[in-house]
Symmetry: C2
């Protein structure tokens, strides 16, 4: 019934859109319809943009960032501090830190976290390249900007061990009350961490 009333090109578009995070089968149909009703203003530009992105996208061979050049624009930016290396799990985290303007350092993308249950060990992540990068010298501080999850913290501990022989100082992001956060809604662990790490007012 379905396939008889929708052309195969449309069906294919819906299927691919449904694989985007945040879109399910129903919202993918809505999105496809939205696109098709705006062929000139949205569908054709999106066709061009996806093709251009597919042709242009590269993974940075230095840090693992996704960009249109390799090395990426962060690694090649002379204004970035080469002595500070911020380790993140994923490119999305790198982008989040960039949006926040949180650091002038450079990055290293791990590509995930250690997760023995999922069969993800050190060799599946970009940990050896990280150690090699730090061992090559010139890096004073390695900031472990991993998620405050069990997997993230496990990975942070593992990396700290691996970097023990190098000259770099290893730090991690502070735990505490999110800016704008209300105490009443915070979990006990965050409240306890914020209390332990209290600072002079």
């Amino acid at each position: 019934m379905k396939t008889s009333t929708i052309g195969p090109e449309i069906e294919r578009l819906i299927q691919l859109l449904a694989r985007l995070p945040g879109l399910g089968p129903r919202s993918a149909r809505r999105a496809a319809l939205h696109l098709m009703k705006r062929r000139e203003s949205l569908l054709e530009p999106l066709a061009r943009a996806t093709a251009e992105a597919a042709a242009a996208v590269k993974v940075c061979s230095v840090c693992g960032n996704v960009d249109t050049r390799d090395p990426c624009s962060v690694c090649t930016d002379p204004r970035r501090d080469p002595a500070t290396l911020v380790v993140v799990e994923d490119v999305g985290d790198l982008w989040a830190l960039e949006r926040a303007g949180a650091t002038r350092g450079r990055y290293h993308v791990l590509g995930g976290t250690l997760s023995p249950l999922d069969g993800i060990g050190p060799d599946d992540l970009s940990i050896a390249p990280l150690v090699a990068r730090v061992a090559a010298g010139g890096i004073d501080e390695v900031i472990l900007a991993v998620n405050a999850t069990v997997e993230g913290q496990t990975t942070a501990h593992y990396i700290t061990d691996q970097l023990a022989g190098t000259a770099a100082r290893v730090t991690r992001l502070a735990h505490g009350v999110p800016v704008g956060g209300e105490l009443d809604y915070l979990d006990d662990g965050t409240l306890a961490a914020a209390m332990r790490s209290r600072t002079p007012f």
Copy 2:
């Protein structure tokens, strides 16, 4: 800051994805990243699918459906009942009725509802073509499958007036308790309508 660390092709892709219903700026970034990490399995296929859809999509000149041919596959399907015409607001409603297999009739897409506040009058909708279609004869029943909103019902009343001179019988979808719905969560209007339209058990 943002634009310096993301290539223009990526930025453009994010902007276009953010215009899809269901995706905001943040989820568009996630979606773009998701695509770029899966260049061969997702980004390139999506580039092809959007280009093919953009080339293939047509609006049916008979009913207003979006399909890859004109007249669309519903209008050209000989198994459909030409004597029953189902009037819907939007192509999405047509697709929903098709998924449900709710009718063997043909369709007429209005392209919206009357909304004087938004400046949408009868001439902005496909109402004159609908009247012409019905006046041409061969249609026994016009089913007004518009939304049960004030705008939808206003539009239904207007169309009923316009069709008064034709031979077709005008009906509307039943109001009642949704299948699987719980009475406790239903609004008073629906409950009252379901009670009025009660049927023998």
